[in-house]
Symmetry: C2
Subunit: 302 residues, 2 copies
């Protein structure tokens, strides 16, 4: 990894994060922009915001996008969050004059690359990063390299089916990991189960509200986190049996509730018989670093 | 891959296969030995059988074992099929004078390596091999390299849980892929469902008997294969979403029934929303090559 500064861009559903990042993964400067999710308008807004940074000699630009990305061509094939389809982002940023070379990846894949460098300090050889937010994303670093798969789509860990009779998911299946663990879906489940039990449903129900309720000892909220933990435990067991990683890192907002769901996840994992793989893995929770996505994007520039 | 001959050994539950294999993966000579599964007796029997081959200048020995293998140290941590626990196979074969260097791997991992060289002719970069036999094993070749994971345990694809209310498996979980698709388990299910429906149960019920019955149009047998297909489809979708391979190869005896179960697997896979990953993968069935395991073991020798 060369010294010098890279430009990182993290394109989320509601906000764009821009950062100058050094070779050690430190954020030197950070900006946040609210932009309309129309590709052309977004690119202009980003260009305008970045103008003051352009006089620096930047090594290149890395972009993380919430969606399915063809990283070879730098095209966002589909992004439900942004409402995009076949957006040639690399070409558009290049024409807008952003520092080259340009790299475009799925945002969770970029976050995994950031976690590998910053959180794990490259001391993990086989790393699975699971991003627990409104949805569930994932990224893989295998044999010390970012693993992209055949079409750059690898790491859709949230859509692993763990129960064919589970909740419906917009991905088209029932009972994928996200349908149990994703922020939107777990809140939906909580609302329904509160109603069924005749409990009052808070006006603004969020994972954080559910976290505090469970912390106060409210049983219905605790059961929601138990369900999250059990589903996560099954998902983690599967990933560990398949990939035998040395580290699994949980990040994203919902990971903050780990003290409530992780014991249930571990209990579920204990049931699986493959002790060697289970013993080989460290399960870590990252709630500190808010900027793994944008840092990882920047570090796509070698 | 050097020219010249390697020795391959495939240690199964009931039989040991020994082969001389050239750098192109061709079997030059093959022997089968029935041996007691006691490690020391087995090593002696293999040594005796191999003696006529020892005058050749062999490049080394590769061994595939049904079980969880520490490939770094060459120790079989546990093999339920052979009844082994912590058997230092590499050391024992080395002391018996087998050609060095010696490599020991899980048998399905070795078979994946054989498939990569022989069936795919190294034209697959990211390959998943699923071995459908009495149980379900797996092996991964990622970025053109055999993927072993942190403790050499990667590729336990058969024990991915796809339905927490599914059949119990000796691995300790319920509803793993093997509990639906493994030969032993699918026969057990067929027997039970025949009885429930008041149908006669053939004295010797095997996957092959069920295959022929379904071919003759027997509905109960067809339903068994439909269930196998649906479960396999879920498992394959999960693997494709996680690893985005360019090729999935189904091998092993049960794969011979692919014409009966694959349409159901494909229908299940179509339900998942990740079109890019699904379009990137070729699904192949290998029923030809009986020797992928022993060839892959031999080709562990570089």
């Amino acid at each position: 990894m060369k010294r010098g500064l890279r430009l990182g861009i993290d394109l989320g559903g509601t906000q764009v994060k821009l950062a100058l990042v050094d070779g050690g993964g430190r954020v030197v400067s950070l900006k946040k922009v609210d932009t309309p999710p129309v590709p052309r308008a977004m690119v202009s807004a980003i260009k305008k915001t970045l103008a003051p940074w352009f006089d620096r000699s930047l090594l290149g630009t890395g972009v993380g996008v919430a969606g399915d990305v063809d990283s070879h061509r730098g095209v966002v094939r589909i992004s439900p969050n942004l409402g995009w389809k076949n957006v040639p982002l690399k070409k558009m940023f290049s024409e807008a004059g952003l520092p080259r070379p340009l790299y475009v990846e799925n945002d969770a894949t970029a976050a995994a690359w950031g976690a590998y460098h910053v959180e794990l300090k490259r001391r993990s050889r086989n790393l699975i990063v699971l991003t627990l937010g409104t949805g569930v994303g994932g990224g893989l670093v295998l044999e010390d390299r970012l693993y992209r798969g055949a079409s750059g789509s690898a790491g859709e860990l949230g859509h692993m089916v763990i129960d064919p009779k589970g909740p419906a998911c917009p991905c088209g299946t029932r009972g994928c990991l996200e349908s149990f663990v994703g922020g939107v879906q777990l809140v939906r489940y909580a609302r329904r189960s509160f109603r069924r039990e005749g409990k009052p449903v808070p006006a603004e129900l969020t994972p954080h509200v559910l976290y505090r309720a469970a912390r106060r000892g409210e049983k219905a909220a605790k059961r929601v986190w138990e369900r999250v933990g059990r589903a996560l435990g099954t998902g983690l067991s599967n990933l560990i049996n398949i990939l035998n990683p040395d580290t699994v890192l949980l990040c994203g907002g919902v990971a903050g509730a780990a003290p409530l769901f992780l014991p249930h996840a571990r209990a579920e994992m204990e049931r699986s018989g493959f002790a060697a793989a289970r013993r080989a893995v460290r399960l870590r929770v990252s709630t500190q670093n808010q900027h793994l996505g944008v840092v990882g994007a920047a570090l796509l520039v070698p």
